[in-house]
């Protein structure tokens, strides 16, 4: 008899990589809107690793999240529109940046609409930051999540 058990699957969220302005990717979470059955709608997921222990799975998820963050500009998500990326106000966000020892974006990064070009800011400045400072900015963008842990049957 094959043992069946509940396990914890680390999944990566699928993102589409459009580039509407032909310049940088605009990353959008893929979502399944038209399920054949009531239960199969939701975010599109790619399975990565399976664990019997939820804590081990969560630890693995964090490791994968950290590694993935090193590849991406976090402002590629939602075209860098700050309210889509963080639960804090822009003012608080700037204060938190100062707390990380990062100066506010220069005036030259102001766009026509009066908002900051956060994508360009990250590209120009982040290569000179420490790994902790880059991680700190990612942590402030608390609406962006690349991985999750779900329960699944293992046989």
């Amino acid at each position: 008899m094959t043992p069946r058990t509940t396990a914890y699957l680390v999944v990566r969220f699928s993102y589409s990589t459009d580039a509407w302005d032909m310049r940088v990717p605009a990353l959008h979470e893929d979502f399944h809107y038209q399920p054949f059955e009531d239960t199969d709608g939701g975010p599109v997921q790619v399975p990565e690793a399976v664990f019997l222990d939820r804590h081990l799975a969560q630890h693995d998820r964090m490791l994968r999240e950290s590694a993935a963050r090193e590849l991406l500009n976090p402002f590629w998500f939602s075209s860098g529109y700050l309210p889509d990326l963080t639960t804090v106000s822009e003012r608080t966000f700037r204060e938190q940046l100062a707390g990380l020892g990062l100066p506010a974006p220069a005036e030259s990064l102001l766009q026509a609409a009066g908002s900051i070009d956060w994508i360009a800011w990250w590209d120009r400045k982040s290569p000179y930051w420490s790994a902790e400072q880059r991680a700190g900015v990612w942590n402030m963008l608390d609406k962006v999540q690349l991985f999750d842990v779900i329960e699944i049957e293992l046989e």
Binding site: T17, A19, F36, G42, Q45, P47, A49, R64, L71, P127
Partner: protein, 255 residues
């Protein structure tokens, strides 16, 4: 005690309008018993893809996504090998794609490899070490979406259903689910399955594997002409995705 195996993984480069971009994730290509064999295999694959990609500066939308070296230091890196980089303007970013096209005709045979080496984020494959057998197989439902013309499977993944320690059992489960889905959708007979008057399911996600990472479309935009389709019940509704199974394989009975 399990021995080690050396796994070659293809990194998740995706086509965009301007070129390609690396996203998190990878696909297992194969496993070999020695590091030397795996590294040889990786190097062979890397060279083949580099030859097809041709211009390394289409890999990533800007310098930061191609190299950990800040741009001025990357320029010094080029000068170290006798390559004169383009000077950055005051406001405009360096057009590295155009620079490569013009500069490469003057390169010595060694200089292209030096440029690729400085672009240390532009790698297409990697080798990882893992205990033999520390792998599982997830059965995943493809999340088909109707785009007003045909059914699209999305770029990758779907909804994970169940994980198996043995590929054979995963494949058996996938087949059972597949048959049930075809039955539920009314694709019960061979005629129904091959009926090209039925729903069209886009299969470009699978048929363009050999053309990875560039694909068949010159600008990354698929038209109906460059898109491939399966009809009716010949479309895949489930697939198997290999997953890491760290530390689970040891001491766990399969039967």
């Amino acid at each position: 005690m399990a021995g080690l195996e050396y796994v070659i993984r293809r990194l998740n480069w995706r086509r965009t309008h301007y070129g390609i971009v690396r996203m998190p994730g990878s696909v297992v290509i194969g496993a070999l018993p020695s590091l030397e064999e795996a590294e040889d295999d990786r190097a062979h694959r890397e060279a083949e893809v580099r030859a097809r990609v041709a211009n390394p500066f289409i890999c990533g939308p800007n310098h930061a996504s191609r190299s950990r070296l800040p741009e001025p230091i990357f320029c010094d890196w080029l000068r170290d090998a006798g390559i004169e980089p383009l000077q950055a303007g005051q406001k405009k970013p360096v057009n590295w794609v155009g620079w490569w096209e013009q500069a490469r005709v003057r390169f010595t045979p060694q200089q292209p490899a030096h440029v690729w080496a400085g672009l240390d984020r532009v790698r297409f494959f990697e080798v990882i070490t893992r205990p033999e057998g520390s792998v599982g197989y997830a059965v995943v439902r493809v999340d088909w979406e109707y785009n007003d013309n045909w059914m699209e499977p999305g770029t990758e993944g779907g909804t994970p259903i169940k994980v198996f320690r043995k590929w054979e059992k995963a494949e058996q489960h996938r087949r059972e689910l597949e048959e049930k889905k075809r039955h539920d959708l009314g694709y019960s007979s061979a005629e129904d399955s091959a009926d090209d008057r039925g729903a069209r399911y886009e299969t470009t996600r699978w048929t363009e594997e050999e053309l990875w990472p560039l694909g068949s479309s010159p600008n990354g935009l698929h038209s109906e002409i460059s898109t491939t389709f399966a009809y009716g019940g010949t479309a895949p509704f489930y697939e198997i995705v290999e997953v890491d199974l760290p530390s689970l394989h040891a001491g766990v009975s399969d039967e």
